[in-house]
């Protein structure tokens, strides 16, 4: 949705306006300079050095030894790596879908007038105010076989004798994902809520007069209005999920076996536990390529919604 202001901005300007020495240009780059410096030194430079490192055998101490594409050749045929890759993708995308749905459900509930609404909103935001490390430790306890409330509840209701949540290769990844969802659904909830507030009420009124059901209104009014928000949030959250480290590292360390292992933890272990910085960098470069491919295709598809013209 572009305002008049944005339309005005898109008007073709005289060329000299964009001249790189125009006053506005100079100010623009001047204001950007600190950000560019910070990003260049701590983000872009290390990134290129990481790519460079991936062509070497390096343990962090002895001289790096050039091995060319050997690491990559090794990765391609490495079953364990593909298991970890699959886990990472499942972890990120399943989590985002569940978060978005839960967030939407709560946003719909909170988007009506009722007593205690602001308290309810605040309480539902609370998971967002708990640090990752506390969530990781807290959920480890939640899942604890003996003391944990989850198994306690299962025994109380007689459903089962308790499940080995994070201790079983079958449930570990899903169990950690649940904690991640718990932490992040408020993010979706809040942005959806903000989006719903911006929908003119008379649209619903008109739809109702036309005899469309509530579900129809939701599908044809609410969802299209929320689309830009869904698009931006989903992109950011899936990238953050792919990158997430804390919960998995603290709750399961990727175990049992590699059943809950995801790429960031895997790369860390190879670089700093086994001292294979070259191989770890190569895996990280593959991860970068996956993220870039996904991200850029996404940006291409939803250009208008994201507003990065």
């Amino acid at each position: 949705m572009s305002t008049n202001l944005e339309k005005l901005r898109q008007v073709e300007l005289p060329r000299e306006y964009y001249h790189w020495l125009s006053k506005e240009s100079v100010w623009g780059w001047l204001f950007l300079l600190p950000s560019l410096l910070a990003l260049g030194i701590v983000s872009v430079y290390p990134l290129t050095r990481g790519v460079y490192l991936s062509f070497f055998e390096y343990d962090g101490i002895a001289d790096p030894e050039w091995v060319g594409l050997d690491h990559y050749a090794h990765i391609i045929g490495w079953t364990e790596f593909w298991i970890v890759m699959r886990n990472t993708l499942v972890w990120a995308f399943a989590a985002v879908v569940i978060m978005a749905l839960i967030g939407l459900g709560f946003a719909i509930m909170l988007n009506r007038e009722f007593r205690g609404r602001s308290i309810a909103t605040t309480l539902l935001l609370l998971p967002w105010a708990v640090p990752f490390i506390s969530i990781a430790l807290n959920w480890r306890l939640m899942y604890n076989f003996e003391l944990g409330p989850l198994n306690g509840f299962l025994r109380l209701t007689g459903i089962s004798e308790g499940l080995p949540w994070i201790a079983s290769s079958r449930y570990a990844l899903f169990s950690v994902m649940l904690a991640w969802v718990w932490r992040n659904f408020p993010f979706f909830m809040l942005t959806f809520l903000a989006g719903m507030k911006g929908i003119p009420g008379d649209l619903y009124e008109a739809a109702r007069v036309d005899g469309s059901s509530r579900l129809d209104s939701f599908r044809h009014i609410t969802l299209p209005f929320l689309q830009p928000i869904v698009v931006v949030m989903t992109l950011l959250m899936s990238l953050w999920s792919l990158n997430h480290f804390t919960l998995i590292y603290v709750m399961t360390s990727g175990g049992p076996g590699n059943s809950s292992m995801v790429l960031p933890v895997y790369i860390y272990e190879h670089a700093f536990h086994y001292g294979n910085m070259g191989l770890a960098s190569a895996i990280a470069v593959v991860m970068l390529l996956v993220m870039l491919t996904y991200g850029l295709i996404y940006l291409r598809l939803y250009r208008e919604d994201i507003g990065a013209k």
Binding site: L5, A38, L39, L126, N138, L190, P228, Y249, M287
Partner: protein
């Protein structure tokens, strides 16, 4: 606004349901709605409640159900005492505060300039910059952490809080600029021009006119930066070596895998690490909601 949609949310029922009057059906619906909503909220908040219960009394769930009052009457603060006096928690807490505050202040200052530039000034390359910022979110943090460790080692920044602050500023910048940019784009065009006609420079106009206007948006961005910094794990794990220089996340992460798990101590620490977040959260909650609405949702 919500009142407008309200009417459409409650379907009209001309025929009485089960022979009840319309008002009875209405209030039945309302009670049902509240019952569902508040039970869901209770469910969501249970882990936080449990964190507190165990921190004052190491109890199992079964014991808790048998005697829901007992845990409170037998509560003690030994977990809190232990975490503060018998672990490095107090150092980690202090370091986390130093690093998070330092990174937030620096990052917010730098990102305000950057966001103003990208959101407000027109020059060739600004859209490319905006896209580049989004692309940096696609860089795996761990891919940057490995070479950064080597760079810091060469420059004597390894195992220093200064180094960690520098890393955090760069790590939080892109998202912060992205958030603020949306706000600046929506400001009316004429603001600085008016000030500049009055004879102040571009910089003076920004300081005197734009900064006061964008204070709430800047506060929101600062909160998000703070949360990112307070939570950050990988860089601290890789770039800090001594326990006494460590921040909370990697420090507390070591508690797992220790043989004897003192759950009351661990949960006391987990709650302790939550307190600064809660303070920020409750002091500035309105900003969070407003900032998200303005930043993420383009009006």
């Amino acid at each position: 606004m919500a009142t407008d949609t309200q009417a459409t949310l409650d379907e009209e029922s001309d025929t009485g349901f089960l022979g009840l009057s319309e008002r009875q059906v209405e209030s039945g619906k309302r009670i049902g709605f509240h019952a569902v909503l508040w039970s869901l909220i209770a469910l969501i908040l249970f882990p936080v409640f449990w964190m507190f219960v165990v921190s004052v009394n190491q109890t199992g769930f079964a014991a808790f159900i048998d005697d829901p009052i007992g845990w409170a009457t037998n509560a003690d603060l030994s977990g809190y005492y232990q975490v503060w006096n018998e672990s490095d928690f107090r150092y980690w807490f202090q370091n986390s505060l130093i690093v998070s505050i330092g990174a937030t202040v620096l990052s917010t200052a730098v990102c305000t300039l950057g966001a103003y530039s990208i959101g407000r000034l027109r020059y060739r390359g600004r859209t490319a910059m905006a896209t580049f910022l989004l692309i940096t979110q696609m860089f795996p943090a761990i891919l940057i952490a490995i070479p950064l460790f080597l760079v810091f080692r060469d420059f004597g920044l390894f195992n220093t809080l200064t180094g960690l602050v520098i890393a955090y500023v760069a790590f939080t910048l892109p998202f912060a600029i992205w958030m603020l940019r949306g706000f600046y784009e929506n400001l009316p065009e004429s603001l600085e021009e008016a000030a500049m006609i009055d004879g102040s420079t571009r910089f003076g106009a920004v300081i005197r006119v734009i900064l006061p206007l964008s204070a709430p948006a800047i506060a929101t961005t600062a909160i998000f930066t703070w949360v990112l910094a307070w939570n950050e794990f990988v860089f601290a794990l890789v770039l800090i070596n001594d326990s006494e220089k460590q921040t909370l996340p990697p420090g507390m992460g070591q508690w797992i895998g220790k043989q004897a798990l003192n759950w009351d101590m661990i949960m006391a620490g987990a709650l302790g690490a939550t307190i600064p977040m809660l303070v920020v959260f409750f002091l500035l909650q309105s900003y969070i909601v407003k900032g998200l609405a303005e930043g993420a949702v383009k009006s």
